[in-house]
């Protein structure tokens, strides 16, 4: 069995759900080896092993937090050269895709981003992803080098499997080229206490129809334990930070349930949500294109519909 390198996404050692999904997918291709960057591996070890990581390569270098992704790609490429893995899986986050891009050039390998499925195939790996705003499903293979695949969250249900989780330290020489750009300040985002937008099972979004008041959207989201999203119009109007934007120039989400409120459903927005399993919309305009996608729609004012729906959910949940 060849190794499969899995880049670990974590917050101070708390392993994120997309990483457990990657480990689950990695087991289809070979033996998962987690690659952990940071100092909190002790907090992560148990989770990584319980999802099948046989080895955990740790890159613990405090200076890494000052630089962007280049040194991480350098460390991974050294591991690829040394271990000849069957594949490298990364989360399809901004960072994951960027590391993947550099790694592809450094290792002379093919890269696939935003995969929603990964299978072993005769010639390495076969992946599935969406194209053109979710209007097409594409199957692809990597034909050269070590397949590098960035996988979207919610692509597979994480399944536990015992792994040895043997920790091994690795180091990296940070090249001069990587040092000419330095992170001089970092302000953590305020925690909303809600699930992460791209990982959430339910997303409740608001658009122009909120007129800038997201309180009903947020209350309904909280009643369902959902993440909150926003349309580009709402973000451009300064009502919500860009991190909450769903669509072509924001996040692409594919939750079990997507509720669009006061969002007309321009193609740029549909690009970010139309692969959701179930779609519901509330909009005053019965001609809004969003209604072409819905499993259930309410033509009405979200300011009336959402508070009533929130009360009803709360009542049913008791």
């Amino acid at each position: 069995m060849s190794e499969v390198l899995v880049y670990v996404d974590h917050v101070d050692g708390a392993v994120t759900k997309p990483t457990t999904e990657l480990l689950t997918l990695a087991r289809r291709l070979g033996e998962p080896s987690a690659v952990f960057v940071g100092s909190a591996v002790d907090a992560a070890k148990e989770t990584l092993a319980s999802f099948g990581a046989e080895k955990i390569y740790v890159l613990d270098d405090a200076s890494l937090s000052e630089y962007l992704v280049a040194p991480k790609a350098e460390a991974l490429s050294a591991l690829v050269a040394e271990k000849s893995p069957a594949a490298v899986l990364l989360p399809a986050t901004t960072e994951g895709k960027e590391i993947g891009g550099r790694l592809a050039i450094r290792t002379d390998s093919g890269l696939i981003t935003d995969a929603v499925d990964v299978e072993a195939s005769g010639d390495g790996v076969a992946t599935t992803q969406s194209a053109f705003a979710g209007n097409f499903t594409v199957s692809a293979t990597v034909t050269k080098g070590t397949p590098i695949v960035a996988v979207k969250p919610n692509s597979v249900a994480p399944e536990q499997a015992a792994g040895a989780g043997a920790v091994e330290s690795v180091s990296v020489e940070i090249s001069a080229g990587a040092k000419s750009a330095k992170i001089t300040d970092s302000k953590p985002r305020e925690k909303t206490g809600r699930p992460e937008l791209t990982e959430a099972a339910i997303v409740v979004s608001g658009g122009r129809g909120t007129s800038g008041d997201f309180s009903q959207v947020e209350a309904f989201a909280d009643s369902l334990g959902a993440a909150v999203g926003a349309s580009r119009a709402a973000v451009d109007s300064g009502w919500m930070p860009h991190a909450f934007q769903v669509g072509q120039t924001g996040k692409t989400v594919s939750p079990q349930l997507y509720v669009a409120n006061g969002i007309s459903g321009a193609i740029q927005h549909r690009a970010g949500m139309q692969t959701s399993k179930t779609i519901v919309a509330v909009n005053k305009d019965d001609e809004a294109p969003i209604f072409e996608l819905v499993d259930f729609g309410v033509v009405g004012d979200l300011k009336a519909v959402l508070p009533q729906a929130t009360d009803e959910v709360t009542k049913r949940k008791g």
Binding site: I105, T113, A181, D295, V313
Partner: protein
Amino acid sequence: MNIVVCVKYVPDATADRTFDSSDNTVDRVGVDGLLSELDEYAVEEALKIVEASDGEVTVLTVGPSDAADAVRKALQMGAHKAVHVTDDAIAGSDAIATSLVLAEAIKKIDHDLVLCGMASTDGTMGVVPQMVAERLGVPAVTYASEVRVDGDKVTIRRDGDAASETIEATGNLVVSVTDQINEPRYPSFKGIMAAKKKPVESWGLSDLGVDAGQVGLGAAYTKVASFEPRPPRTAGEIVTDEGDGGIKLVEFLASKKFV
């Protein structure tokens, strides 16, 4: 400061985009193309930087003959000159080959900074800026929402999911910008007339010393095995709110086990 802006000619996102079933590549013939909307922000940012100091903006595109439309729009906005790399051998190139051609072209253009859009609107991978930077041996700062240039120091703000970061860089680098950074200008009548006189250099692979075997569909590192249109969503139930819209909504959610 002299700036190179990488731009891409893409199928119009509001049209019916599809694939060419003969080789499973993006159909670039049957659909009208244009300058990728996300690249307009990079052009605008480059113009602002140069207007505030000095220097020239060169737009660079790699693509078929029609891709001249993409550089023309950038010239109409105010870019000083353009380079259009076009060669039949490039057709079907993946991100890796595209980044090779871009990097070799950038090396031939006098520049202090490279700007790009955050992603193309057709492939939407968003990996080319990092790949080009890797080939040039420089850092890439992506998804910038603010760029400040002071002499040879570039200060960038990026608003990520976890944190808002300030990055300081000196020397050459690649910066990709988001659609939050500015409001791209529309070409003025004067700009449209002036663009007709601006130089557009056309380069082939031989001008870059790139071997035809390194690019194109044959050199791609990935292969699209098949593509199929997503089945259309079946029409859902739509009710008009008559005072019980919220309750009906939750009844539907309950029927699907979400509540």
